[in-house]
């Protein structure tokens, strides 16, 4: 496969994943911000949302108030925010368009029709009523694309590079989300802050659509260390760091099985995978959750760079 094609597919996977994450983050934040303050309805909910997308500084530069309307507009339709849903879809589609040949018709249509719909919208969000359908549109488009890819694409380099991109991005997003709330995620046995924090924890779970999953896995009330355990180490949750690294390693292995070549990216992925396999949540808390997540994000970025280098992007 052409290196440029591989790069475009990989980044398309990443941008679609980012768009989906941002949509889910906004939904969860809306819910949290709507709670009365006596239930922990945090006034800083939108601040956290910005932090989770690493957009705190970019947003501050505009001098806008931190409130639902301007922040959600910034995260969805703002053409000058390179991580806004609009820009993610623009870039994903541009990448898809330049490698149109590597996608199936259905895969392309899923991206293209979402792009057509979002490009019809102006740069201003028309109130809250406009937000929900927009977020749905994005989530559906990403699901439709993944479904189409799953059902119609050749199992080959193109498919694996897309999946590799989305797994790397998903790992990054989950880690950032946890890191923004790390001070709320306390180790087992710590006195927890009661119902106030409960809604913060469930917001995290909702952002990754794992609220119900949590109940099924732990059959327990929401405990902060279990939330961390679920999102970091649980292999059943597709957005957990461990799951993402399962995916990353698997797709890198598939790429290697096709070419017969392994390289630095394979070594880094295996190391990352092993780090998640050889630990438990108590050990992570003991060495510091924030430190763990920061290191994870840095390592994950290094892996991204190693992939680009190894496949000559």
């Amino acid at each position: 496969m052409l290196s440029r094609t591989a790069s475009n597919l990989y980044w398309m996977g990443r941008y679609l994943e980012r768009a989906d994450f941002t949509a889910r983050l906004i939904e969860a934040t809306q819910r949290l911000a709507a709670l009365p303050s006596s239930y922990g309805g945090a006034s800083n909910a939108w601040e956290s949302a910005l932090a989770a997308t690493w957009m705190t500084h970019a947003y501050a530069a505009r001098g806008l108030p931190i409130a639902e309307a301007p922040v959600s507009e910034f995260l969805t339709l703002d053409p000058s925010n390179p991580s806004s849903i609009r820009c993610c879809l623009d870039t994903a589609r541009a990448n898809a368009r330049s490698v149109r040949t590597a996608l199936t018709e259905e895969g392309w249509e899923a991206i293209n029709s979402a792009w057509i719909e979002i490009s019809r919208l102006g740069v201003h969000l028309d109130g809250r009523e406009a937000l929900a359908p927009l977020l749905d549109l994005v989530k559906h488009a990403v699901s439709a694309f993944e479904g189409a890819a799953q059902r119609t694409m050749l199992r080959g380099d193109a498919f694996w590079f897309i999946n590799l991109g989305s797994a790397i991005e998903r790992a990054d997003n989950s880690a950032r989300l946890l890191d923004v709330k790390y001070h709320l995620l306390l180790p087992r046995g710590e006195a927890v802050g009661g119902s106030l924090d409960y809604f913060q924890w469930t917001t995290i779970l909702r952002t990754v659509s794992a609220m119900t999953a949590y109940r099924w896995v732990y059959r327990d009330s929401v405990k902060p260390w279990l939330v961390a355990d679920l999102l970091i180490l649980n292999r059943q949750i597709p957005r957990s760091l461990a799951s993402c690294y399962d995916e990353i390693r698997r797709h890198l292995d598939l790429l290697a099985s096709n070419s017969g070549k392994r390289g630095p990216a394979h070594r880094l992925a295996s190391a990352g995978h092993a780090r998640l396999g050889n630990t438990d949540i108590d050990a992570i808390f003991a060495s510091g959750l924030h430190e763990f997540l920061t290191k994870f994000i840095v390592d994950n970025n290094k892996l991204g760079e190693a992939i680009a280098e190894q496949y000559l992007f």
């Binding site: 290196s3 040949t101 249509e109 790429l255 070419s259 000559l312």
Partner: protein, 494 residues
Amino acid sequence: MAAITAFDEMFGSAGAYGGPAGPLFTGDPGAAPAPTSITAAYRSIQSWLDNSPPALMAARRRQAELFFRRIGITFAVYGDPDAAERLIPFDIVPRILARAEWQGLEAGLKQRVAALNAFLADVYGPREILRAGIVPEDLVLQNPGFCLHMVGRKPPGGIWTHIAGIDLVRTGPDQFYVLEDNARTPSGVSYMLENREVMLKLVPELFNSLKVAPVETYPEALLEALASVSPRAGGVPVCVLLTPGRHNSAFYEHSFLADKLGIELVEGSDLFVRDDVVYMRTTEGPERVDVIYRRLDDAFIDPLVFNPSSMLGVPGLMAAYAAGNVTLANAVGTGVADDKAIYSYMPDIVRFYTGEEPILQNVPTWRCREPEALGYVLDHLAELVVKEVDGSGGYGMLIGPHAPQATLAAFAAKLKAQPEKFIAQPTLALSTCPTATDAGIAPRHVDLRPFVLTGTNGTHIVPGGLTRVAMTPGSLVVNSSQGGGTKDTWVVDE
């Protein structure tokens, strides 16, 4: 604007649309004219139109547009930021050619493209046609399309124009003319293929009543033609399609064709040359390339030889080409054959190389470089079409009968300043076809671009081609860059 009386391919004359033509048009079924031999093939179309209420036609048109938009088949119009990705209007009424008509055209096209290839081999080789005085030497050697780097070269297989698009117009039951030859990088074939796919989905019932020759073999024929000219013997040749990138107006077509051919769609930066061999950069390292179907103009393909500021090309490509390690399709320098000044010599060129009378007619052409012709053109400007000899896409063209007085005067001045840059032709009454418009079915002017493939395995033409239609009432300009649309073209057994 002077009205042009044109031959209508369904009714014989456009007057029928407003007159006693059929129930769709007047509500009087008894008044339909007896079909002539041409309209016979159109009978199914007419009854289909008659039996389609306006609401159904409107729904079909919306469906077609939706289909095109979803598959992303778009065309950029340069200089129009709002239309960075515009749909080319698609008309759902097919254009019909009877098989017998097509066979005549096919023979003429093969003859013409054989002559074009022979002409190119000759002007870059022995130059016999120049020595014989058939075509003036300066017209060839000083032609902007003449490429000095190709002098004395012989592309693999001796083929220069592997993919040619010959624009035909019709003016009467048996009168077809070649309007121009496109020997460089003709585009539009993706529309020919997609239009058929849309029609099959939209009106399957019509295909039951008419036996329509399929066009879907085009990608295979193209791949075979490309593979046949590989410079490396043995093995499966590696073919690629070289595109200027996704900002090019025809990018959709490039990606579409690469997909259908199952070959890589490469940009200049994906290729590199080492020791006069072309490679593409892949995730598994360099891979050798044998044949490049390039959709990039000569001027941009190699910054070391041509336009040094080109970021789109491949440094060293011409050296690899000269060393015979890679085939470019079409060859470099073919522009000298589709120049509009050379066009006027085509009948002589066909006779010179084939020893036969040309099957396809040329439109009578005044070469403004000749003083006598220039005088005539200036005197009759309001009746003529004037074109730049090296122009394309309908840009910079004057249609005398449709031009206001001021434009005529301005053009006359341009002509006097640089007469050698222009040719003039009579304003042809391009045939019309029934076309679905917002106001119902109406006649619109059409042309036809068949695509002629040439490899060492022979010449291949998919039946039909791309019908372009001027969507504006009375307009004769069918170019997509000027608002033209397309129709599916059916070669039908009778």
